[in-house]
């Protein structure tokens, strides 16, 4: 007789075990549902592939009266972010989402959102940048806002994207910094996944009503965005930088609180089979799950390989990263964006810089892979691991390789 793999669980038992109902949803729709659970006041967005489903579904919720929010169908992404800035400055909880050229079109105002300390939450359905025009997934869009002062997360799957929505509102509003949640375009946005949501009661507890200390209020006037003359600009940037770096603690605390409520643990750097690893790859986003399969196959052959995934990209979790690399002899960094003329891809540069002053100095190789949605398969990851192994015995170089390009 076939062994019964799934045990039936009674409702009471499920409650005691904190098992929640899973629903099959397109990840974009699931994200929209989580945003609605956070009771946002203002949604301001412009459609762009592959992000559109998120705000389309939110507009449906507002239209059907299921969500009491102001939905502003703006004329551009620049206006989308500007409207979020205005609403947020007036004390509203805001949401927007975009991709690729849309993100680039709102670029100028991104820096204003962070410098004015406005807790806006944005989902970026990562897509490559034109030209050549492409709608497919890589990380070249978000890497342009690397230095913008936004807290930046990368989700691996739909469940994480949903949980990060809850986390982000809590983190943004406690730290007073905007948060960008990166999800791989199409690979995540257009996939149907079983997702579990927090009960509304828990969401209300975890993401309480927003109360801003300073906001645009005629009864208590403040000035936001005044001129920063040379005698004050440096001090303003120092204050912003100190506050941004200390948002790390707020992020960790928000995750600890989430663990207490749900039993789910979130960390800045996720590790997979790193305990005795000699060689590791550093990855962000959904490719990690493919790479895990490669790790399993190589482990079956006796190769000590592991994975590091950066969930938190900004502020860069330096100490967690150094701790997580364990005793590896070589690291292969898989970048998904090109930084033309640089010493590596954006993540490669970061990793080299992070380890330069560290006692741990593994060999580092930098690959750029999966541009514009080109598949990076399990076989590809096995090849990347082998190349990283090779680096142990060879002289280190400061260059990077665009992987899988046809000569």
């Amino acid at each position: 007789m076939k062994k019964k793999l799934i045990r039936e669980v009674s409702l009471e038992e499920a409650k005691a075990l904190k098992i929640r109902k899973k629903v099959a949803k397109e990840v974009s729709v699931a994200i929209a549902d989580a945003v609605a659970q956070c009771k946002v006041d203002v949604i301001s967005a412009y459609p762009i592939t592959p992000q559109t489903h998120i705000v389309e579904y939110l507009s449906e919720l507002v239209n059907n009266g299921e969500l009491e929010s102001e939905y502003i169908p703006v004329e551009s992404e620049h206006a989308a972010m500007s409207a979020c800035i205005g609403a947020s400055a007036a004390g509203a909880r805001t949401f927007t989402a975009t991709s690729s050229q849309g993100l680039l079109f709102m670029y100028e105002v991104l820096f204003i959102a962070s410098a004015l300390r406005l807790p806006i939450v944005m989902v970026i359905a990562n897509r490559s940048i034109s030209a050549p025009i492409s709608i497919w997934n890589d990380h070249s869009d978000v890497m342009t806002m690397r230095d913008s002062g936004w807290i930046q997360f990368f989700a691996e799957n739909g469940q994480e994207a949903v949980d990060l929505i809850y986390h982000s509102y809590r983190i943004a509003e406690k730290s007073l910094f905007p948060v960008a949640i990166n999800i791989d375009g199409f690979i995540l946005t257009h996939v149907i996944e079983p997702v579990e949501f927090l009960d509304q009661e828990l969401v209300d507890k975890y993401v309480p009503h927003l109360k801003m200390n300073y906001k645009l209020d005629p009864k208590k006037p403040v000035t936001m965005g005044a001129i920063g003359v040379p005698e004050i600009y440096t001090e303003a940037k120092k204050a912003q930088d100190e506050a941004f770096n200390s948002s790390y603690k707020i992020i960790i605390n928000a995750w600890k609180e989430f663990e207490k409520l749900t039993g789910k643990r979130y960390q800045p750097v996720e590790i997979y089979k790193m305990e005795d690893a000699e060689v590791a790859l550093v990855i962000m986003g959904s490719l990690t799950e493919t790479a895990m399969n490669a790790v399993d196959l190589l482990r079956d052959e006796g190769k000590k390989v592991g994975l590091l995934r950066l969930r938190l990209w900004r502020p860069f979790p330096l100490r967690d990263f150094i701790k997580a690399i364990g005793k590896v002899k070589a690291i292969g960094v898989v970048d998904r964006a090109v930084s033309h003329g640089a010493t590596g891809g954006p993540v490669g540069i970061e990793v080299r810089s992070a380890l330069y002053q560290s006692n741990k100095r593994p060999k580092i190789v930098n690959f750029i892979a999966g541009l514009s949605g080109r598949d990076v398969t399990v076989e590809d990851f096995i090849e990347l691991f082998e190349r990283t192994y090779h680096a142990i015995k060879t002289k280190p170089t400061f260059s990077y390789k665009i992987y899988g390009v046809k000569e």
Partner: protein
């Protein structure tokens, strides 16, 4: 010109450099980089107030005798008042010649 120094400790700034006191821009000295200064010849002045109307910085104020006098704390020396004075009563003079 002396090198700029910080006006206030970064630790004392409100988040986002928000300014909590309304209307304090009057304390912001904007006239310190002026190259030309408007000098009024009261003999020629007819107190018409066109300098007051045209000044882009609203820095002209009426004194007790009814003359319009520029407030040098704000005046940037643009010379618009001198250009528009119908009687040629305002002369722009280089600061170092005063």
């Amino acid at each position: 010109m002396p090198k700029e120094e910080g006006l206030i400790s970064w630790k004392k700034l409100a988040p986002g450099m928000a300014i909590l006191k309304p209307g304090n821009s009057v304390e912001f000295k904007t006239g310190d980089w002026r190259a030309f200064r408007p000098i009024l010849d009261k003999e020629k002045c007819i107190k018409c107030g066109l300098c007051y109307v045209f000044c882009p910085d609203l820095c002209y104020e009426k004194d007790e005798e009814g003359y319009y006098i520029s407030n040098l704390y704000y005046c940037k020396g643009c010379g618009i008042c001198a250009q528009n004075c119908p009687r040629g009563a305002i002369t722009m003079v280089l600061e170092e010649e005063i």
